[in-house]
Structures are given as structure tokens and as C-alpha cells.
Symmetry: C2
Subunit: 510 residues, 2 copies
């Protein structure tokens, strides 16, 4: 029984043990940059007028057990998943057909598609694309069956927490290897979490793109740089800075952060230059001009970030430039839930095999194994029946096209929700069968306001990958490495670690 | 003219330049643990009930110029200073005579001395002493003279900021080597601050003592550890944790922090064991017992920390144990200002030469050169005249026996202060000639509440050293390495970086 591993874990804590672990974790987090800026909800603006304070990222006090076979399988499949999403992005016709269905029900998807069409009309000047991905899974531990790996979603834009996740691995490792930090428990003596090379992998992808960009296209030539496009009010800044530090310190690449609202102020494309280099002038040193090789989006992934036409103008401006985009608009669109659902369709054309040309069929079969059953709601059929039936709805989640969580409809809420919206909008949603997590998994979370919560939890594993390819489909770099474990209280349905209702965690493989 | 280096430095900042440097510094500080816990004055307890928030340590945005010759001289003399204070501590008779004068005017000194006598009566069981010192200096840059190095004080207990100071060096180095972080200025292109090995040096001292302690004296033998004794409400915790991380991570020595109020709860000396090992039982794991090789005091240096007889009992308990003390009570007493003044007396016995037996007389002369003129007020004579005369008082500072700043009387306040206290108490004070800092030195400070201040500053250089010796005078380890630059606004008379009125800085040697 796979679930027996979760029994009596983590060990109960005396007040002194909890006090020790909480203090050690709080201090370690600040000493090592496992930190976030506090939201106004936990520290009012009036108490923090200069935005000077930081707090620990929400973390579990203990690592969580995770089936070794599932972890290894997720690692093994990551470069295949990278290749799949690169291939989808290269097939504009196929992608367009899937997207077409969403255009009249999803403004955001429609605007992204329009952005692509506008740049296509003018002509793209950069034939390289960069993906920094995270494939998210749960271990399905249905009793009396071996645990199996099921994909929750595949993130093609702004895949976050690589920086902080590596730190959680170090925190838990330090506690595990400094007895008597933890109370005695067999699982806590069984080893340490596996290496977490998320920072190296993700930065390595950016560095590879930077190099592949080639020499400056400006005349006279300009020094080259990488830009991180970030949200104006980003609180998860230390996650991004972990990658930035690696890029500047190890790869020696000048790297700057630009707020999305400042893109049109701080970058420009010379109208006279048909190669359309993206020029960045730091506001603190306007006489220094850099040519941007790679634009890494840690913003513009969600509709609420496009507040006006100026945001769409800025996104288009980046897209039409010669900088390598991470991701392009098309690559972002390939992350729609609808794509995942179409790929998972058990009948009809074998999309996987056509996209993964040259990949062994046994590997493709293993990848297909990671798909949870999921259904289209655009037409009458099994999906609609499962969603509208109160009993079967309980085993499902309804997902829009967004990434990043916070928009899903769960279980009993599904039939009511669907009946409330126009039937013509149903095709904007995908119904996915819920994965069965370990029922008795527990952990103790230290929130970023310092509150400590113990309870039943659900964990989601993310594996990071990075790929650089030409629009011809030729792959120049395909790598995987590093992981994230996100653990949330069972009463909470959604992810969103930075918002404080779920925690960064690490894995103890069993 | 030495002072010309300070002209037009640091460069003026546009709002965008200041915004960039402030944001970069704030973020770097949290990412790298250059942090402090906020005081209730900058973040009320009500907004921080779980004590979860941290902020940047107060730092300058720019490194400060410092005369290279003075810096090198301070480094060159540190091991001689280490030796001097070890030798003073070994000469209980000489030390006792100097202290005797203070006993009836200074309760704190009297109680320390009583503690020593009580343990002496029972008999010390540890013949090794460890010093982790910081010698503080200013560069005297009197116009038309070469800059000279003058000692402000010699700290024999709780010498702080080694951990954070190393980080400030890294912060400024990163800004200097990542153009265009700073506006152009010749000094900012002249190089980077020298290496700062404070963490390695101080932890190395503790590790050497740990090893020299030898095997466990308990039967059965216990695992060995180092204890940091810390204040109950310590806000400068990340400075201490930098040393602790090095001890546990690099030296692989179990190291724990114990609040001074918990010493008697968490440590014990078995009454049956005449070798008096100090046993530590972590409250989070009371079944694990460790034998303490080395007690590192980051508390109990100031009278206000001894709130009741229980604190003196705890201090005595540590002192009589077999653990190596850093420092012993006698070594703490050797740091009294009175000792510094007696050593500096231009007439009478040549104490330096007797203590520095075997040291070249030219070295002793160089060490003597670092003494500022200072005077005893216990008897009629030059000191009293200089202190009571309104005009000459302006060139002096009046210091009590404490370390750590916050208690000095400056310039015009001196005559009035002395007239207000009984003349019999005057012998508790030392009058020291003020050192002439660069008049036009400026810098920009980022306080830990996020406020930014620009103005004239005074900088103090500290050099760290560590020494381990036997009570016979035999030296087992004598090392120096690492530095601190503390820079304060000129209108502020005192140090005390953690309280926020002065900043951690780094040096650009010229």
C-alpha cells in the first residue's frame, strides 16, 4: 500500500520542537533569500511605506514523501514534453485550428492570436524561440495500484519558483542533516531530497538563447543583454533574482528587469533598421544602450495584466522585435488547456506521434500515460454528461485556458457554474478528471505571515525544462533539470504560492 | 592633499539613478542575508506579531574612500594587538590593579571582577581562552599631513558585524563590476574593495578552540558542540548566523544559539564531575545531550543585560565550566577604556614592551603610534584641565568603560557633564582626543526603514582578529582577517549600526 508511507508523518511536534523548526526556517529563509515581499494583506501599506520589508516564502516545515518512480518518470519525459510543445508551436496551422474554437469565447486568447497575426503580416525577424517550461503533475496513489504520474498542466510562460524551489531543497536538506533538528522518524532518516538544478537549467536556457542570438545587429554594434519583463507590483522578486544572479554572476551576461508598464519607455526598435533590434536604455543610465538578445516574460501571462491597449502595444512591440522571445505569442498559446485536451483525446488522429516525429513509440506511450482523462465541452457528448451530472462532477475539475491557477471550478460547483454561463461559452472550458492524491498526506506549513498550519495536504510536482528551436523545427538545445513541489492544504482548491495559500515544499523519494 | 579624494564623491544622483541603486541594494540585501529584524520603532509589534519580517541592514549606497596605508597598517598590527590583549589577560595582578580603581565607581566592572574572584576561589578548570576581537580605528587626515591610523577602541567581547560586513563588500563589489549600476566617477572605476575574510577568520577562531578543547570530559562521552550565547531580543541575528553557517557547513561543528535568559535552563554542569563539563540539552530535543567546547558570547557585554542576580549566576555558571570562553571575564575586563588609557600613557612604565615580550621594538613603536592622546581624570592634571576648559573640551570625547558605543559624552557637553556628577566618579571616565576625520567625506545611506540620507559622514574601520592562548601565556593560534567600515552621519556622535543611526560600508583604498 503506497499510502502507508504517509502514516504518522510528519511526526507530532512538542511546542519546543515547533518553535525550533519555525525559528530555524524563518531565519534560514531570510539568510538565504527564500523570501517574498509581503502583500498589503499581511503588512498594510501604511506600515511599509518604503516597501522595505520581506518575509519568508510560505514553506512546509518538512519535506513530503513522493513516489520515486513517478519522480523519475517526470524527469525522463521532460525533454520529450519540451520537444512536443516546440513542435506544436512550429505548426501554426494546427495550433490555429484548435485556437480558432476559443477565439469567440475567450478575449485573451483572441488578442494573443491577433498579436501573432499582426506580426506575421509584417514578417517575423527572429526565427529562434526559447521555452522555459514547467510540467506539473500529481502522483495518483489510488489504493491497490502502483502510484502513477498524471499531468495537471504544462506551463509555457512565466514558469515560476525555480529559484525559490532550489532553496527549499537546501533548507530541508540542512535540517535533515543537522540532527537533532527534526524529531526522530524513519522517513527523516531515509535520505535527503534529490539535487535541484532549476536555477542552473533555467538560466542555462536563457544563456544559450543569448549566445545563439549572435552578434549585435545594430550599427555601430551595441553590447548585448537579456531582459526580464516583470509585473509592476511583483512580490515574488527573489525567485526571479535567483535566475538573474546566475546569469550575471556565472554566465557574465548583463541582465536587467523591466516593468511591463515601462517597456515602451525603456526599449525601442529603430524604425530605420529592418532587422528590428530591440534597444534597451536603462533609465538610470540613459546614455548606455544595450541590444536585447532575449526577452524573458515573467509578466503578461494573464488577461488582467493587459489593462489597456498600451499593454497589447507593448507585447506586440516585443513580439515584432529581433529579440528571442521566451515565449513567443504562439508558444504561449500552445499552453492553452484546450491543447492539452486535444492531445489527450483517446480517439481520432494521433497528434502525439505526428508531433514527436523520430521519438520512440514506447516513449510516446509513456508520455500519453501521464494524461488524465479530459473532455471537450464544445459538443454534446461524454464531457457534458460528466460535468452536468452532480455525482460524476464530484470527480472533476473545470479549467479555463489560463495558466497559473485561481480560475478553476471544482466538483459540486461545476454543474451550477455551467448552467449560469451561456452554453456558447462552454467550449472555452476543459473538464479534467481529478487525480487521486494520497488521502492521508499531512504536513506543517509556515505561511509568510508567520502562522503555522498543520493538516491534510495535496502536493503537485513540477519539472523544469528548457528548449531553443528554429521555426523550421530544428532543435538547438533541449534540457531538463530541477523541480518544484507545491503543497497546499486540502481545503484549498488552488495553487498560487505567492498569495500564501499554498507552500513550497521538497520531496523525499520513496 | 589627502582630502581632495573626497571632493565630488560620491557623484550626484538623478532620481532614476537613486531609485535604481536603492532598489538594487534593498533586493540584494534580502537575497543575500544582509538583513536585520526590524525594531518596534520602524515596524510596530502590532503589525509584526509573529516576528516574521526582515529588512536590509543600514548600508551606504557607495563604498567610502579610505587611505590604503592606514588600512594596511591596521591589518599588519592586528595579531600584535591580539597578543597584547592576551598577555594583559594573563597578568591578573596588573589587570587587577588597573581595575581596582574602577570598582567603587563602576558596579558593572565590580561585578565582573567579583565573578572572576569567585571562580578563581573555586579554581578555574579551563586553561584556554579564546578572543574574537575587533580593533576600531579612524584615519586621521589632518590637512598637510600624511593620513595616520588612530585607534578608537579595542573590542574584546561580542565583536559584531563580521558576517554582515563581508556581505557589504560583496554588494558594493557587485555594483562596481556591473556597469552601468553607478554613475561614472574615477574613484568608482579605480578598483573594488579588498577581500573581506571576517566570517572565515572569526569562525576559524571558534573552530580552533573547539578542536583544542580535546575529547569529551563526560562519561560516557558526549558529542561536542559550540554555543552562541545571544540576547533575548536580538535583531542582528543574520550577522551571527553568517558565522554559524560557516561553523556548521564548512567546519561541520554542531552549533546552537542559546538566549542568555535560558542558559540556566538549557545548560548544566554535573555536580559529580570535578572537570565541570558544560552540558547543553536542546529544548527541542531534550534527550540529546552535547558537551560544550566553546561558549561564544554575543550577549552579556553591557550592564543593562544583567537584569537580576540570575544573570550574574548564569555568567558565573559559564565562567566556572570547562568550556573555553570567548571571552573570559578577565578578557572582557581587559577591554575597559581605562586599560587603553594606561597603555597609552606617554610617561611611566613601558607596559607595551613588557606585555609584548619578544616583539620587535619597531613594531611596538608602530602600535604605540595608533594611540590617540588620552587622559585619566582620577587625579588633578592635564586630563582634568582639558576636560573642564570649554575650548579644549571641544577637541575631546569622554568615554566610560563600556564597549559598543551609546555612552560617550562629546565636546561642549563634557565640562557640564563632569560638573553634574560627583568628582569621586570621574575616575570611571577616560578623556580621549578626537581624531580628525576627512572634513568633506560624504556618502548616501539607505536606512533599514528605507529612508535615504545624503550628507557628511565619518567612517570607522574595524579589523578582526582571533587568538587562542593558555593561561601560561602560550599562544596556540593568532590570526587576523576581515574588516568592517561603519559610516555615520556627522551630526550623529555614536555608533550602534543595528539601531539605525549609522551604516555598514565598505572601503575603496586610495
Amino acid at each position: 500500500m503506497a499510502n502507508s508511507i504517509y502514516e504518522n508523518y510528519p511526526p507530532q511536534l512538542t511546542p519546543e520542537q515547533q518553535e525550533f523548526l519555525v525559528t530555524a526556517t524563518k531565519d534560514w529563509a531570510i539568510q538565504n533569500g527564500l523570501a517574498v515581499r509581503p502583500s498589503p494583506a499581511i503588512l498594510p501599506e501604511s506600515a511599509n511605506p518604503n516597501h522595505v520589508f520581506a518575509t519568508n516564502a510560505p514553506v512546509t516545515l518538512f519535506p513530503s514523501p513522493f513516489p520515486r518512480a513517478c519522480f523519475k518518470e517526470a524527469e525522463a519525459l521532460q525533454t520529450v514534453y519540451n520537444q512536443l510543445y516546440a513542435a506544436i508551436t512550429c505548426n501554426e496551422e494546427w495550433l490555429g485550428k484548435v485556437i480558432e474554437d476559443l477565439i469567440d469565447v475567450d478575449d485573451f486568447v483572441a488578442n494573443l492570436w491577433k498579436t501573432h497575426l499582426a506580426v506575421k503580416k509584417e514578417g517575423y525577424v527572429q526565427n529562434l524561440s526559447l521555452g522555459l517550461y514547467r510540467s506539473d503533475y500529481m502522483a495518483d496513489v489510488t489504493p491497490n495500484q502502483p502510484p502513477s504520474l498524471k499531468q495537471v498542466e504544462f506551463n509555457t510562460i512565466s514558469s515560476s519558483f525555480g529559484g525559490l524551489s532550489s532553496l527549499v531543497k537546501s533548507l530541508h536538506t540542512e535540517l535533515l542533516t543537522s540532527p537533532p533538528s527534526y524529531p526522530p522518524h524513519p522517513l527523516l532518516q531515509s535520505g535527503t531530497p534529490p539535487d535541484n538544478t532549476a536555477v542552473e537549467t533555467l538560466s542555462g536556457g536563457l544563456a544559450t538563447a543569448h549566445k545563439a542570438y549572435g552578434p549585435s545587429k545594430s550599427s555601430p554594434e551595441l553590447p548585448l543583454c537579456v531582459l526580464f519583463i516583470v509585473q509592476d507590483e511583483e512580490r515574488n522578486v527573489f525567485d526571479q533574482l535567483a535566475l538573474l544572479r546566475r546569469l550575471t554572476g556565472f554566465h557574465k551576461i548583463p541582465t536587467f528587469r523591466v516593468k511591463s508598464s515601462q517597456i515602451l519607455n525603456e526599449t525601442s526598435i529603430p524604425t530605420s533598421d529592418s532587422s528590428r533590434p530591440l534597444i534597451y536604455r536603462p533609465p538610470h543610465s540613459p546614455s548606455s544602450a544595450f541590444e536585447v538578445t532575449t526577452v524573458y516574460l515573467r509578466a503578461y501571462y494573464s488577461p488582467d495584466e493587459y489593462k489597456s491597449s498600451r499593454d497589447w502595444e507593448a507585447r506586440t512591440h516585443l513580439e515584432r522585435s529581433a529579440a528571442i522571445k521566451c515565449p513567443t505569442v504562439l508558444n504561449q498559446l500552445s499552453g492553452c488547456k484546450k491543447i492539452q485536451q486535444v492531445l489527450a483525446e483517446p480517439t481520432g488522429p494521433d497528434h502525439l506521434t505526428s508531433f514527436l516525429n523520430g521519438v520512440d513509440s514506447s516513449i510516446i506511450a509513456r508520455l500519453r500515460e501521464t494524461f488524465a482523462p479530459q473532455y471537450d465541452l464544445s459538443t454534446n457528448g461524454q464531457g457534458r454528461d460528466l460535468a452536468l451530472n452532480a455525482e460524476t462532477a464530484m470527480k472533476h475539475v473545470l479549467k479555463p485556458q489560463r495558466e497559473g491557477g485561481g480560475n478553476n471550478i471544482y466538483k459540486a460547483d461545476i454543474p451550477e457554474y455551467l448552467r449560469r454561463i451561456p452554453e456558447s461559452d462552454w467550449k472555452g472550458w476543459v473538464l479534467m478528471e481529478l487525480i487521486n492524491p494520497a488521502e492521508n498526506a499531512e504536513n506543517v506549513a509556515l505561511r509568510n505571515d508567520g502562522e503555522v498550519l498543520r493538516g491534510n495536504v495535496i502536493s503537485e510536482l513540477g519539472i523544469y525544462g528548457t528548449i531553443l528551436w528554429e521555426d523550421t523545427g530544428k532543435i538547438l538545445h533541449n534540457d531538463q533539470g530541477g523541480w518544484l513541489l507545491r503543497t497546499k492544504g486540502k481545503e484549498v482548491n488552488e495553487g498560487g504560492v505567492a498569495a500564501g495559500f499554498s507552500s513550497l515544499d521538497s520531496v523525499l523519494l520513496y
